[in-house]
């Protein structure tokens, strides 16, 4: 059931490749705008790179949150999924995993290329990838709470941003902290460990909140 649900969401996403690509290009464009706005000095770019990549990742992953449950909610599939004997927790986890693969994994893959634009060292690029790998699942799973709460509401997209962005702040701090540490030459280990801890805690608790929110919204 779990695997089936993930597979189904992946197929659905594959049939709408344009949506996925749009998120990816949004990420690329936002990151590329910063050098244009700030200027091409290499030293400045290197100092802002961690923050820029992470803030852009936050915004890009927020864009696609509506898609986690939106379509299933509209055609009634979500209600059926919640009626199955499987725990709602697993349903949520499967949908979050699918969202992560579709919307976040491409960001992780493309991020090192964008890091090159900012003159990050090889070590820095590696930390960008590792921190994004640890941090983006947290974005997906916390975002799913916001997505579930705003299902079917007016202006749900703006509302999701208001609800979810403040909750993303620890991830932003830990993630960009790790990259920053590697840029300045100190060890990013502490930040990565914090990021990992956030990942574990949010994976345990957030799907529970999401399934509660889903039941409220579907009712």
């Amino acid at each position: 059931m779990f695997g089936w649900l993930v597979w189904r969401d992946l197929i659905l996403a594959w049939r709408r490749r344009a949506d996925v690509l749009a998120t990816l290009f949004f990420f690329i464009i936002v990151v590329s705008l910063f050098p244009l706005g700030i200027g091409p000095e290499r030293e400045t770019l290197r100092t802002i790179a961690p923050g820029v990549v992470w803030v852009a990742a936050l915004l890009a992953s927020m864009l696609s949150l509506g898609r986690i449950f939106g379509n299933d909610y509209q055609d009634g599939t979500l209600e059926q999924l919640l009626l199955t004997p499987q725990p709602a927790y697993l349903v949520v986890l499967a949908k979050v995993l699918a969202h992560w693969i579709v919307a976040e994994l491409p960001l992780v893959v493309i991020a090192p290329v964008l890091g090159l634009q900012f003159g990050l060292s090889q070590n820095g690029l590696a930390i960008v990838v590792v921190s994004l790998l640890l941090g983006t699942p947290v974005l997906s799973v916390i975002g799913s709470v916001g997505a579930a709460l705003t299902l079917g509401l007016r202006a749900a997209n703006v509302l999701v941003a208001l609800l979810v962005l403040p909750l993303y702040i620890p991830v932003l701090i830990f993630g960009s902290g790790a990259v920053q540490a590697s840029v300045t030459g100190s060890s990013p280990q502490a930040w990565l460990l914090l990021l990992g801890a956030t990942l574990i805690v949010s994976l345990v608790f957030a799907p529970w909140a999401t399934s509660a929110a889903l039941r409220i919204s579907v009712e």
């Binding site: 709460l149 509401l153 403040p166 909750l167 701090i173």
Partner: protein, 245 residues
């Protein structure tokens, strides 16, 4: 009191709570006004001028209580929202909705007064200090809660959705606080501490009196607001027509 026990559950029904709240408002509002006047008097005329900061420190008398209230009301709001959600007690959910606005206002006041205080004390309007930043994030959380509730038309769903959000927020507040603190120690740009600031007894007294005033004010205002919420939601109820006739 000991002869007849009060049946607390009775007041969980809006129909019974509405008149009670009406009676309780002056009980809290009048002492609040008295304490405000007393606290401001002590703060402005009794408390001595600070050796380091001069007169400008006096903004603390409103800044600190407002900041405390902002934090505390968020927790209180989450508790009420959680009770309302878990036990299906609609009055508790209404209380949560009523508290949110007051909490947001106090958080906003503490940010504005902090900024006004920062200008003479630190020379800048805003510092990305851990406390300021986490207060700002707290304000964002309040705004999220209020805007979520106001964009849901069905108030039953609004109550429950707000409860989930408030509880998630409460779990997150300590995480956010510590992350901001670590972030701040990483950057170490504008580390300005409020040390070298010891409190004279009259200063502490003024602050505590004003804290009490803010508390009583919050209770009174929340009761007023919850009465409006009851009236809005129970428009159809016959008891309301009787009560307001």
């Amino acid at each position: 009191m000991s002869k007849h026990r009060i049946n607390w559950y009775k007041y969980a029904a809006p129909a019974n709570f509405y008149p009670l709240a009406g009676k309780m408002i002056p009980v809290f509002a009048i002492p609040a006004a008295i304490l405000f006047v007393a606290g401001l008097y002590v703060g402005f005329f009794v408390a001595p001028t600070d050796a380091v900061q001069g007169e400008s420190y006096r903004i603390l008398f409103i800044h600190v209580p407002a900041a405390w209230m902002g934090m505390f009301l968020y927790v209180l709001m989450a508790v009420y929202a959680g009770i309302g959600w878990a036990f299906n007690a609609r009055l508790a959910s209404m209380m949560a909705t009523a508290i949110a606005t007051t909490g947001a206002i106090f958080t906003f006041i503490s940010l504005v007064t902090g900024s006004l205080w920062g200008r003479p004390a630190w020379g800048v309007w805003w510092v990305w200090d851990a406390r300021l930043t986490s207060t700002l994030i707290l304000l964002f959380l309040y705004i999220g809660f209020i805007s979520l509730q106001s964009s849901i038309d069905d108030w039953r769903r609004a109550d429950r959705a707000g409860a989930v959000l408030a509880l998630v927020g409460v779990v997150n507040v300590p995480i956010i606080y510590f992350s901001v603190q670590w972030w701040n120690s990483l950057h170490q740009g504008a580390t300005i501490t409020k040390s070298s600031f010891k409190m004279a007894p009259s200063m502490a007294a003024a602050m505590l009196i004003l804290l009490g005033a803010c508390w009583l004010y919050s209770i009174a205002v929340v009761l007023v607001r919850v009465r409006y919420i009851i009236r809005e939601r129970e428009q159809e109820a016959p008891w309301l027509a009787e009560a307001t006739a």
